[in-house]
Symmetry: C2
Subunit: 465 residues, 2 copies
């Protein structure tokens, strides 16, 4: 296998294949098959979000996939942003449709005509819903599993509020949810308020969580958008205020996709394969018996018991296939299982179990009697260590630059006056993207690297996936 | 509200609205919005199936929605069965696609080209996978929520086996799963081997589970198909047998949809609304405080404690809205919550909780200290009673008839020689559908009601949804 540091792109494709997360041989470009292993990891991530949504009072809905062209065209900016990449259903059976239907590229235009029916009074607000569905975008750039695909496994929450302030509070709740999710995935990120020219079509402002890949590029993990009443005006979403007046609702969305899994591969994987953080690992520990001639039955039996005992507490796989242990190790390492338990004649004699961490070299032994606690505490440790390592990677790859020519293949921070012309100038000079300005204020004092005007706000710049 | 017995069709639409299971105001015909309440019920059903699938060793996959026309056209019979009702994507952005893509009406033609890659040796078999996705069919008949829709929430398992016998064993495993599901939904059914002219396009035989609606019609809940090697030949799904020869795999599928929820509404609902069996009820019990002037706080406090205690064991809703208790009762009855707990000053004084079953009149009181056990046992009882009542309804509406003219608006059983001409004759004479013959043999001795030939196999006939 090619090394991650030599050729990231090739390595990325190979580790996904070797791990069996997706099958890319489906005969439509940008649409991969979810294998049971990959789908299981994705579902664990989805279920983390379902838990967060339940905790914060969002209801799970499911809106139709197909959006009539007439609804789709109601918000002008939104359309301009998407019309080049929507798929159109034009026929049913052999007959042309009267009104063309597009496959949702995102669900604003599907949901908001219905929100207009659901929302009547201030008592109906805030309205907080989410769905986990496929969205479709005909992206013309080169496709890449998880990161740039045409059928997208998508999480989207949509909320409606009495005013802009309440919507702003929602964005902060989203940030808290994102923070918890980032900890579970062991993927830290920067929170960037995107520049005007890169915000979501129809948004008042857009906020993104950008992770850092070891190639020096950033990877957009999630976005949150404050719409103010832009969509409410287009879809006539109004409510009766306590004073009897009719007001437009203010809205937000929070979107994420299978990119989360791509980030996890890119950030944690190594030359042996992917590494899945325990919180979202379909298999948290694999139990591999190391049989010895003559004692095969005893060892298989004890290993099975070990797996059953662990199975009451963690997600376990018992691998008793008729293969050499080395071949099994290789396979489970490629699949990123965070912990491996081995049980051989020596372990049995000593009353211990041998444990090997996926994220570190070497093995350790723990007493058989305390194995459940040991495994749980090791899984927690792995979770923390993976996060800490990724956090270090991100923090040590942010560089302050004083001129566009200094930009490195990493994340570059510099003074920006905030004007579109200076921002676009930096993008043009570097061939990189302006990620935006920190959403949560950070202390800064400098001057714009283009026009020299003093500024207390830095901007961030990187190549992006 | 119109009565179920007066106008079932109208009643059916109304109770779904009143329960808030779906919102039908989405601007595309046959595509309704899943509300949080309806989606929660559907997810509980989906998760029952996920549990059954895990128990029987099926992996959950997720295949792309879009199928290239070239793959779709490979199995000739299958295409003839679906080509009039598939939706076609012909454009992306402003450009026509080179190869048209259809929205999956079912996933054989999406999955089987990939199965051909996954299956190499007999050691890869049986292959057992399933997915829960939306499928799309442009049904030209009148649409009806859950029962006849154009975006269908769909469960489909697909398996591949070394030979027809092993595939047959799979069908029997599916039947066991169906039996367990039917018990959870409290929906009994007949198992019918569909006549040749009504089998799934491309199947060797088709088997269906037909439930009974109080209008005298049956409602297809699920189908299982034995494909033999029909699809394997079209998609070149072969494996290397132990003797080194290449053999075609034999396949089966098992499909179900949101109709399960429609059946639940039709079978159990009454003039107060729907009735959801405890096993799949999003809310199993609602706790309603009955405040009294002056003691409001004490009662609200005790009711909240009661809900919290119950919430550790069952799915509970605590309803402390500022509404009259009667209005709350009315609403939760419409939503089909199987059990209601009331707590008023009298209950508090007596140290009891008042419980009311949705499926029966009257109330009972249970000691506050034993409320958790009482609720659990009542939920079990409701579950059993709902099943028993539905089973009775089904069994008492099967009538033996000796001539087509005797056919009733119910399920009719009669002797059939098995010939297509006699079967079609009965359908023509009655305007009903021949459901098929019992999949599990039942003792019978009679003669064909058309040609008079002696037969030991009955056929079943009914109008269908």
């Amino acid at each position: 296998m090619v090394s991650k540091s030599d050729d990231f792109s090739e390595w990325y494709n190979e580790v996904i294949d070797k791990a069996g997360l997706r099958d890319k041989r489906y005969p439509v470009k940008g649409m991969d098959v979810w294998t049971p292993y990959g789908w299981s990891a994705m579902t664990l991530i989805d279920n983390l979000m379902r838990r967060e949504m339940a905790r914060t009072g969002h209801g799970e809905v499911n809106f139709p996939l197909l959006i009539p062209e007439t609804e789709f065209r109601k918000e002008a900016e939104h359309i301009r942003g998407f019309e080049d990449e929507v798929y159109w259903v034009t026929h049913a059976g052999k007959n042309p449709l009267d009104i063309r239907l597009c496959l949702r590229p995102t669900s604003e235009t599907a949901m908001y005509p219905v929100f207009a029916l659901w929302i009547r009074s201030h008592a109906d607000l805030p309205l907080k819903v989410f769905q986990i569905v496929s969205t479709f975008r005909y992206d013309t750039k080169q496709t890449r599993t998880f990161l740039r695909v045409r059928e997208i496994h998508f999480f989207e929450s949509h909320t409606a509020h009495v005013d802009a302030d309440d919507a702003e509070r929602q964005i902060h709740e989203d940030l808290e949810i994102m923070e918890r999710l980032g900890r579970e995935l062991c993927v830290p990120y920067l929170l960037m308020r995107r520049p005007e020219w890169d915000k979501f079509p129809g948004a008042f402002y857009s906020l993104a969580a950008d992770a850092y890949a070891p190639t020096g590029r950033t990877l957009q993990l999630a976005t949150m958008h404050h719409y103010r009443d832009n969509f409410a005006k287009a879809y006539d979403i109004t409510y009766e205020a306590p004073d009897g007046s009719r007001q437009f609702a203010h809205q937000t969305t929070y979107g994420m996709s299978e990119r989360l899994l791509g980030a996890l591969v890119a950030v944690h994987g190594d030359d042996k394969g992917i590494v899945i953080p325990p919180a979202v690992a379909p298999i948290q520990i694999v139990v591999v018996p190391i049989p010895e001639k003559g004692r095969q039955d005893v060892i298989l039996d004890e290993a099975r018991k070990l797996a059953a005992e662990l199975g009451e507490h963690v997600r376990v796989k018992y691998d008793d296939r008729d293969l050499r242990p080395g071949a099994k190790f290789y396979e489970w390492e490629a699949k990123g299982v965070p912990l491996r338990a081995e049980l051989g004649p020596r372990d049995l004699a000593d009353g211990v179990v041998t444990l090997a961490r996926r994220d570190a070299d070497g093995r350790s032994t723990v007493p058989r009697s305390g194995v459940v606690d040991a495994v749980r505490s090791l899984l927690n440790e792995i979770q923390k260590d993976l996060y800490a390592r990724a956090e270090r990677e991100l923090r040590t790859h942010i560089f302050d630059i004083a001129a566009p020519e200094e930009a490195r293949e990493a994340i570059n921070r510099f003074g920006w006056c905030g004007s579109e012309s200076c921002g676009l100038q930096v993008e043009a000079d570097t061939g990189m993207s302006l990620l935006g300005t920190p959403f949560l204020k950070e202390p800064y004092s400098g001057s714009c690297i283009v026009c020299g005007k003093p500024t207390d706000t830095p901007a961030y710049l990187a190549r992006t996936y």
